[in-house]
Every structure is written in C-alpha cells, then in structure tokens.
C-alpha cells in the first residue's frame, strides 16, 4: 500500500512539473507575440540588413496562423532549435552551448561550497552554547545580506590586486574559479545556514528529541541521526529557489570577474536587443529550475513518510 501511494505521488509531481514547464514555454511565446510592434522588428534587434526581415519571417514561419506558429515553436524547442541570433549571425544553440560550460562550472562549484559551509555551520552550532549560536547567526545574517557583486569586488581587491594570489579575470585555469565561486557561494550559504539552523533548533525542542536523549544517545548522534532529516525538509523546499538564485548570481559574478560564460553572452544580448538569445537563456534556466525543483520535491517525499499517506 505505502509503496503504491509513493509512486502515485511521484508520478503526480512529475506530471505537475511537465505542466509547469509547458506553461513557462507558452508564457514566453505569448509574451513575445503580445508585445507591441512587429515580431520581425523585435527579433531583429539592433541590426538591419537587406533581406533580414524576409529571412526572419521564413525561419519563424510568421506568415502562418498563430496556433501553427505555436506548434512549430514547441516542436523546434523540443529539438533544441532556438532559432538564429541575427546580431551574432550564428544559431542560438551554438552561441549558448559554447558558453555553457564555464557557467555550469561556476554554479556547481558555488552550490557545493554553499551546501558544505551551511551544513557544517548549522550542524556545529545548532542548539549549542549561546555564544556560538549568536556568533554563527550574525555571520549568516551578514553573509546573506551582502550583494554578490560587492563581495566579488572586495575579494578582488584583497586577493587579486593586493596579494596577487588569484587572476584578475578570465577562466583559463582552476585558479580563476576560486574567487568567483566563493563570492557566489557565501550569500547563498548564509541564507541556507539560517534556514537550516532555525529548523534544527526548532526540531531540537520537539518532545521526541527528549525521548531519544533518554535512550542515552549522544548530542552529535542526535543531530546527525534524527534532527538533520527534519531540518532538511525546509531546506529542500528552499532548494529550487536557491538554484534559481545561483543561476542569476552567476550572471552577475561573471561580470565582476570578467569571466566568460552565459552571463556575458546574455548581457550582451540584452544590450543589443538580441531577443532569440535572451529567450533561449531564460527558457533554459526555467527548465533547469523546474527539473531541479521536481527532483527536490521528490526527495522531500522520500524523506517524509507522513506525506505518503492519503
């Protein structure tokens, strides 16, 4: 019985995420067509040369009916065809694909670092002495309130310009990943640590923890064996939002550190009104977000057996 319920819940969550993904894609399509002005002009952006409008019309099938265009849109997206960037005169997928890796590296490194920092800090200080808790929570507050770009600037000043430990710009070596990853990780770590600690302390006040203590289980084991699971629940809920934040923050970090990546590409596209590129990046981010949230929600279902009941 329970296994069947679990499977049903997982399937229903997957179905919901498909709906959301579809809706996000449709929303972008609607936004594109709902704007004032001709689509050809919007898509063309800042460039203009003879034959451009005709090429756009042909590629996007603008002479056809709206529903047909929509279906075509979905179809092409499913095949990874995001159209052509007229500003850069290359297929969008190429533009985006070539710059994907440095950004993903950065986001992953920062994410991992944030989780380790936050988890470690929360585990070490939750429910312990007042001094430790006060100090930790102040640290978390400051970290979560610091803008990523300022942190980046401070790190650059201290470690690149003064101490010269790390390169000032570029992504040529592993060295170049360190400062940007730290800058991106710290605010996220601060927020995550706050949530983790709060929920850990709330859990530590629950009656069942007294029961566990009365069995002779030590403080550390109580935290790792019992409290951590409970504390993860709100953190997991937060996870999707944090991933979105990492993606957005990566854009900013790349500008601060002069690092190549999707951020630079997108920024350039925004400033030259290169709509197909911006569209592609945004949709990609949205779909990644949906996928991540779905996985996290399923993780939540696996951790908390109370949700599996009818």
């Amino acid at each position: 019985m329970p296994a069947r319920h679990l499977t049903l819940r997982i399937l229903s969550r997957l179905a919901t995420s498909l709906v959301v993904a579809w809706a996000s894609v449709t929303a972008t399509f609607v936004a594109l067509h709902a704007l004032p002005g001709r689509i050809e002009d919007i898509l063309a952006g800042d460039v203009d040369f003879p034959g451009l409008r005709e090429a756009i019309a042909a590629e996007w099938g603008l002479d056809r009916s709206l529903p047909a265009q929509y279906v075509d849109f979905l179809f092409r997206l499913a095949h990874g065809d995001f159209g052509t960037s007229y500003v850069l005169r290359r297929p969008v997928i190429e533009v985006v694909g070539s710059q994907l890796r440095p950004t993903v590296e950065l986001a992953l490194a920062a994410g991992l670092l944030a989780v380790l920092l936050a988890g470690g800090l929360a585990l070490a200080t939750a429910g312990r002495g007042r001094l430790a808790r006060g100090l930790a929570s102040s640290l978390e507050l400051v970290a979560a309130s610091t803008p990523v770009f300022w942190l980046g600037i401070l790190l650059l000043m201290a470690f690149s310009f003064s101490l010269r430990w790390f390169p000032v710009a570029g992504a040529k070596s592993w060295n170049a990943l360190v400062l940007p990853a730290i800058a991106l990780a710290l605010p996220t770590a601060g927020l995550l640590a706050q949530v983790l600690r709060e929920s850990m302390e709330k859990t530590l006040n629950q009656p069942f923890v007294t029961t566990v203590r009365a069995r002779g289980v030590g403080e550390t084991a109580i935290r790792t064996r019992h409290v951590l699971r409970h504390a993860l629940l709100p953190a997991v809920t937060l996870g999707g939002w944090l991933i979105g934040g990492l993606l957005g923050g990566a854009v900013i970090t790349e500008k601060v550190f002069g690092r190549p990546g999707l951020g630079t590409v997108t920024l350039g596209a925004v400033l030259t009104h290169d709509v197909p590129v911006v569209l592609a990046v945004v949709l990609l981010a949205a779909l990644i977000h949906v996928a991540a949230s779905t996985l996290l929600d399923i993780l939540y279902l696996l951790i908390d057996p109370r949700l599996r009941a009818v």
């Binding site: 919901t16 709906v19 959301v20 993904a21 809706a23 996000s24 929303a27 972008t28 936004a31 704007l35 919007i42 507050l141 400051v142 979560a144 309130s145 610091t146 803008p147 990523v148 770009f149 300022w150 600037i153 401070l154 650059l156 000043m157 310009f161 605010p187 999707g240 939002w241 979105g244 934040g245 993606l247 957005g248 923050g249 854009v251 900013i252 500008k255 601060v256 997108t266 920024l267 596209a269 925004v270 400033l271 009104h273 290169d274 709509v275 911006v278 569209l279 990046v281 945004v282 981010a285 949205a286 779909l287 977000h289 949906v290 949230s293």
Partner: protein, 305 residues
C-alpha cells in the same frame, strides 16, 4: 473515610478556592500564554534606528551633505577619504559620500515600487488561491510555479530586452518576479485562517459568509502582509542593485549604489573607496530590514502560517 490518628483535632475549613485558586494564579502559568508585543533586544533597536535614519536621508539628503552628487570638481579626482571628503571622491571628482546618500533614494524607491507590485498581485492571487475552490487553487499555484521558475535576474533581463533599460522597468521586473513569494505565503495564511475555529464557528454568532470574510478572514490574512514585505524587501534591494550593477537599471550618472559599484570595478587597482562604501550601504540596509522583519515575525508568532 476513617480518621487518621495523626490528623489535627480541629476542623480544617479552608475552601478549595483559597488553595487551588491561588495556585492557579501563581505557579500554574498556562503553557499557552504568549507575551504579546515586540521584544526589544539591542539588535532590533539598532536596526530600526538605522532604517529611520535611512528614510530621513532618502527624503532629505541635502541635510547631510553640501556636495552635489552629479557634478564633480575635476581637480579633485580620486582623492582618498579625508575630513573634506569622508568617503573620498570618484573618477570625476564627485564626492562619494554625497552620492551614497543620494543613492538611498533610488534603492528604496525602486525596491518599494517593486514590492508594491508583488504585494498587490500576490495578495490578490494568494487570497483567491486560499479560498474554497480547489480548481482556482491549482490554477493559481501553477501560475506561481511558472513565475518562480524564471530566476529573478534573468526575468528582469527579459523584461529589459523587450522594454528597455531604466528604473521603472526593473521595478516592474522585480515586482513580477516577487509575486510568487507573496502569493504563496498569503495563500497559506488564508488557508490557516479559514480553518481556524473562530472562522468555522462564526456562523453561530449570526454572521453571514461575506461578513465573516470581511470582518474575520481578510484582516487576519492581511496582518501577514507587512511582515512578509519587511522580510523580503532586503532581498528585493539586493536584486535591484544587482541589476543596476549590470547596467540594466538607472544609467550613469545616476548615483544608484549598483551603478556606482559598476563604475568602481575598473578603478580597483588604484582606489578602494568607490568600491567599498556603496556596497557597505547596500549590505547594512539589507541587514537592517532583515532584523526588523525577523522581529516582526516573532511578535506575530502563532498567528502566521
């Protein structure tokens, strides 16, 4: 009952009220009594004071500085902090302190405008989702999912691509991105209030559905709004200044903090002060809002979802 041979011979005539009643008054503190009102730890007072100061600065920056944020003395470019220029001067000889003070307006204004958009739409949708109709709830929740699947920064970039750069546009973008945050909390709050005994049993006192909604449900839902707003405005200001840093918001020479930091990046080798003070301002503002928001949330504990 047989007499105990050890009991006192006299009749004991105390009433229970004397004994048990007094016990109830003193030691038997009911576990559910919650002290209402804000606690006042020093952090809260400092933070609240800072915000008041911020508001004053935003309204009248000229009270605090005689310098013009937009014009600079070319002979005084890149001066280190001194008595004359406490925060130093920037590349064009402008006083950094003055620009930081004037910059308060922009961050607060854009942040508040964005929050207003999020709040208006978020509350409306959240209340709708929290009402009885399961269908409406599903529809609105999916809408929130769609909106929140676009990271705030990227959504703003999309809006700017279509509508162009500027303060109003990033305020709108940030506002739209923030709708799910308000909406989900308001939805949860609506469900909480609707399920509470004072609402489910209100019909006993002769109240009709619309009276119950207007008198009991809505006010207790709206109570959550200022708390959410204060908690999230810090994050909104972070995003707004980030977008300005990228060049999507107000343009130079506007003394917005994000813009100032963008300008300072290329000067890092020679001058540290243009890159430190505006960032410090952002950080302190966000910290202050977080502390006040957290204190508000604690004081409403138990009444909020």
């Amino acid at each position: 009952m047989t007499a105990s041979p050890h009991s006192a011979p006299a009749t004991v005539a105390l009433s229970t009220e004397d004994l048990i009643g007094s016990v109830a008054g003193t030691s038997a503190a009911p576990s559910r009594v919650v002290r209402p009102g804000l606690r006042h730890p020093p952090r809260f007072i400092l933070a609240a004071g800072f915000l008041v100061l911020l508001a004053v600065v935003a309204l009248g920056p000229s009270l605090f500085t005689g310098y013009d944020p937009l014009t600079g003395d070319v002979s005084e470019t890149l001066q280190a902090p001194s008595w004359v220029h406490p925060f130093g001067t920037d590349r064009l000889g402008r006083d950094v302190l003055a620009r930081t003070l004037y910059g308060t307006r922009y961050s607060l204004l854009i942040g508040l405008a964005g929050m207003a958009v999020s709040a208006a739409a978020g509350v409306l949708l959240g209340v709708l989702a929290g009402l009885r109709s399961r269908l409406l709830d599903e529809a609105v929740s999916r809408l929130f999912d769609v909106l929140s699947s676009f990271p705030g920064v990227l959504l703003a970039m999309l809006v700017v691509t279509f509508l162009g750069q500027g303060m109003a546009n990033i305020a709108l973008a940030v506002g739209i991105a923030g709708i799910p945050k308000f909406g989900r909390v308001v939805r949860a709050q609506t469900q909480l209030v609707r399920g509470a005994d004072y609402v489910t049993h209100a019909a006993i006192y002769g109240l009709g559905r619309s009276r119950i909604f207007l008198r009991h449900v809505l006010p207790n839902v709206l109570v959550a709004v200022p708390v959410i707003a204060t908690i999230y405005i810090g994050n909104t200001i972070l995003v707004v200044s980030g977008l300005s840093f990228l060049g999507l918001g107000p343009q130079p020479p506007t003394p917005e903090w994000g813009v100032m930091l963008a300008e300072s990046r290329d000067l890092l080798r020679v001058a540290w002060w243009p890159g430190v003070f505006p960032g410090l301002a952002v950080t302190l503002t966000v910290i202050a809002f977080s502390i006040v928001g957290g204190a508000l949330q604690k004081s409403f504990e138990g009444r909020l979802a």
